[in-house]
């Protein structure tokens, strides 16, 4: 057997192994988990560390975006923002508008997890964009 043919055949073989591996269901790997693999353990630990870091980064990014939106909306002014909503809706949202008026930049962190208020901010922003093309 010539070297080139041996090389070609072995490349076929590893190519086939790759294809089989690619199509193997993740569930079929469960039985392997009992065999500790130091190489994988190191990388798994690294993955978990970076996931934690990424989560913190994402939270910070969302906070910065919210702060930016909040400052822009404050500049527009409460009166104009209220006019964006029909009177009936405005009554329903009175608590949210009051909250908005009382908020300062320092409070933004606290509302970062307040889903109702985030939705409210987002709806104001959408209405402004629809009306004025403001981004």
């Amino acid at each position: 057997m010539e070297t080139n043919n041996a090389l070609k055949t072995l490349r076929n073989l590893y190519g086939l192994f790759m294809e089989i591996n690619y199509h193997t269901e993740p569930a079929d790997f469960v039985s392997e988990l009992n065999d500790k693999d130091p190489f994988i353990s190191v990388h798994l630990k690294n993955v978990m560390l970076h996931r934690t870091k990424a989560k913190a980064m994402l939270k910070k990014r969302k906070f910065e975006e919210l702060k930016e939106q909040f400052i822009a909306l404050k500049k527009v002014g409460l009166e104009k923002l209220q006019e964006l909503f029909p009177p009936a809706e405005r009554v329903e949202m009175v608590k949210l508008f009051n909250k908005f008026e009382e908020l300062t930049e320092k409070d933004i962190e606290a509302i970062n997890e307040d889903q109702d208020f985030l939705t409210f901010i987002s709806s104001i922003k959408d209405k402004l964009e629809d009306e004025d093309g403001i981004k």
Binding site: T9, L16, M57
Partner: protein, 218 residues
């Protein structure tokens, strides 16, 4: 990694990653590691995938690159693929990019090679990934020493098959010589993909030590 370095898909990937458990991550890493063992066979002692070129062992480099790319959103985790498949696709694309850059650099710009600038490239090479399992374009460099190892390994497998009375294994090996794909072989020898996997494992047990030895980066 800072917030400014996060990629375009940071948020969308983060949403998907919320539901991925550590067990699912471990399986994804194991599957990607296997892929790298096969992909890097005979390719780490010479050329683009050496420690000299990448700065770290190839397996270390590509595995780290793929999960960091997903976590920080420099690559999109597409809906069509599960996490292990997405990691594998990123690995193969990165390998192609590194090989391409290595060849260009080697031919035209020795200084750039020293600076390792190609390592910062994030260009995706569009291709049908499954076709590359059998032929990674531009990745043909191989040392004389590695060619000798190839011959030795080939002869070892031939001998193992000759001495075997397992007809499935014999047919499997003949199909490999012909360059048949997984689907072709399953049809040809009338086996399901699961059965084919068992035949593969038999052969793999025989050559596993050689695979690990040849990667030189375990």
């Amino acid at each position: 990694m800072t917030i400014e370095d996060a990629g375009t898909f940071f948020e969308s990937n983060s949403i998907k990653l919320k539901t991925v458990s550590s067990v699912e991550w471990e399986i994804a890493l194991r599957k990607a590691e296997k892929h790298l063992n096969y992909r890097l066979w005979n390719r780490t002692s010479f050329g683009a995938h050496t420690i000299e070129n990448l700065g770290v062992p190839a397996k270390e480099y590509y595995l780290n690159f793929t999960y960091m790319s997903v976590i920080y959103g420099n690559w999109e985790w597409k809906d069509d693929f599960d996490l292990p498949q997405q990691l594998i696709r990123i690995i193969d694309s990165r390998i192609s990019t590194v090989v391409e850059s290595y060849k260009k650099t080697k031919d035209k710009n020795e200084e750039r090679l020293k600076d390792g600038k190609y390592l910062l490239t994030t260009t995706e090479v569009a291709q049908d990934i499954e076709s590359t399992f059998y032929d990674l374009k531009g990745d043909d460099e191989i040392s004389e020493e590695d060619l000798l190892k190839v011959e030795e390994q080939y002869e070892e497998i031939e001998q193992f098959i000759l001495e075997s009375d397992d007809e499935d294994l014999i047919m499997f090996w003949e199909c490999v010589k012909e360059g048949y794909t997984r689907k072709d072989i399953a049809e040809f020898i009338g086996k399901t993909p699961k059965q084919l996997d068992k035949i593969k494992e038999k052969l793999l047990r025989q050559i596993r030590k050689e695979v690990i030895k040849d990667n030189g980066n375990q």
